[in-house]
Amino acid sequence: MVLNEADTRDGSSDVEQLEKHNIIVTTLEKIWNWSRARSFWPLSYGCNCCPIEMMASGAARFDIARYGYEVFRASPRQADLLIVAGPITLKMAPVVKRVYEQMPSPKWVLAMGNCATSGGPFRDGYSILPGADTLFKVDIFVPGCPPRPEALFHGLLELKKKVERGDY
């Protein structure tokens, strides 16, 4: 389409001029990121206290389904988001790593609770990894011992913003 002389005078960019004519310029990646950010299907890994909060976030009072993140898949092949909710022991580490590798990309990791972020109270233990980020790239850390469901939602919504920016 032909741009008007008047449009180019105010020094706006080409994209902005097109938007004045109600033409939205975008990339396909933006649309995919829009949809990815709105449908994280979690795969959960946990020990005892963080998963209880995670279950509470799925239940009636907090309801993770409002954001559309309630589809907890049991098989890593259909999951997008690995929620590490608990300390990773040295014996468990290869298993978690393998489960992470079985997930199809694009995939994200959320470290829930102090144990998963840094090792927590077990940090100096001989058998515990000091945080999930020693194993694979972690996108969002949610601190707390255990974090409340609201904190988990905050982490998920921050991850949503991050994915929407295409920053992963």
């Binding site: 389904a65 309630e70 199809p104």
Partner: protein, 345 residues
């Protein structure tokens, strides 16, 4: 309004014939058009159904369900579908590649083929087959093979276990399903679905065959692998059953086919027991949509209300309860028909 779609079809055919096309070609093009419409509607309908299921499960569990994306969360499934489109496509290196790849496609093809004989309104079936019901039941049992292919091809113990369970379950529930429909066939005296609808002019067959409807409903739930009979993909025991190794779109195809089967089975129930497209005021195609959706809501209600039954209970329920009941129903229906004929009704 009643003859809206049939009139459109007639106008299109006569227009194509007036262009100098031989009538057989016009019919063929119309058939392809009808198929395309069915495939498109079925696919779009699944998007609505998944949203409905998530909403209903939310309401049953005193939750709100998806409500952030669009009005009442209606665009949630669209985001999910687009995400599934872009996921990585993993085929395990030890999998039986061809069987693994064809299983989901075959599953959806079989599911869509069920719609060929369903009268979606008066005179609105794609093929007016005189053994329509037989065709429907025999195609429905084919989907077992797809699940077995998926389980075997994945080369995964959970997949194989899930597939074996689904085969056992579907074969044992096939029998009461077919038997329960026999009562309706005896009353209508035809296997043609549109003739069964016309036979319900005076009263719906649910009034004459309540036991058959109950048997059909339970057996169909088992055939669909839906809760409380979702043995083949019991998450707590089998990860995701036969679908364990499937990613992205391949998995979505299975999901699509399951919902397609659900619509087909509900539409068959509406056709056989609830008078098909018959009803006051509204056109017949609208009536069948309303009835189908109501029956589907009952299916969803059942899924989110009852816990899963154990595998051995499932099998013994089919062989010890459903099959005797459906056989007795056939006997009583036959005696009743003879009795009323003797009375001269």
């Amino acid at each position: 309004m009643e003859h809206l779609f049939t009139n459109i079809a007639q106008i299109l055919t006569s227009w194509m014939v007036s262009l100098g096309l031989p009538p057989i070609w016009a019919d063929l093009i119309l058939l392809i058009g009808q198929w395309t419409i069915i495939v498109v509607i079925v696919t779009l309908n699944v998007i609505v159904l998944v949203w409905l299921e998530r909403k209903i499960s939310g309401f049953i569990q005193e939750r709100l369900g998806p409500n952030r994306l669009g009005p009442f969360g209606a665009f949630q499934t669209i985001a999910d579908a687009m995400k599934l489109l872009t996921k990585e496509d993993i085929i395990p290196s030890q999998a039986d590649r061809w069987i693994f790849m064809t299983a989901p496609m075959l599953f959806i093809v079989i599911a869509v083929m069920l719609y060929a004989v369903l009268p979606l309104g008066q005179g609105m079936e794609v093929v007016d087959l005189n053994v329509g019901l037989f065709y429907f039941i025999s195609l429905g049992s084919l989907s077992t093979i797809c699940l077995l292919m998926a389980g075997w091809g994945s080369n995964n113990k959970w997949s194989l276990l899930g597939a074996m369970r689904s085969v056992a379950q579907m074969i044992s529930y096939e029998i009461p399903l077919a038997f329960s429909l026999l009562g309706v066939v005896m009353l209508a005296g035809s296997l043609n679905l549109s003739e069964i609808v016309t036979a319900q002019n005076r009263y719906w067959f649910i009034l004459l065959q309540p036991v058959a409807f109950l048997t059909y409903f339970i057996a169909a739930t088992a055939e669909l692998n839906r809760g409380p009979f979702d043995m083949p993909e019991a998450e707590q025991e089998l990860t995701a059953g036969a679908y364990t190794e499937y990613t992205g779109m391949r998995w979505a195809l299975f999901f699509l086919a399951e919902y397609t089967n659900l619509v087909a089975v509900s539409a068959l129930a509406a056709t056989l027991f609830f008078g098909g497209g018959q009803g006051p005021w509204l056109p017949s195609w609208l009536w069948i949509i309303i009835k189908t959706y109501l029956i589907m809501l009952v299916f969803m209600w059942m899924k989110w209300t009852f816990p899963r039954i154990r595998m051995d209970h499932l099998m013994s329920f089919s062989w010890k309860v459903l099959i005797p009941v459906s056989l007795a129903n056939i006997l009583i229906t036959g005696l009743g028909i003879e009795f009323f004929r003797g009375m001269g009704w």
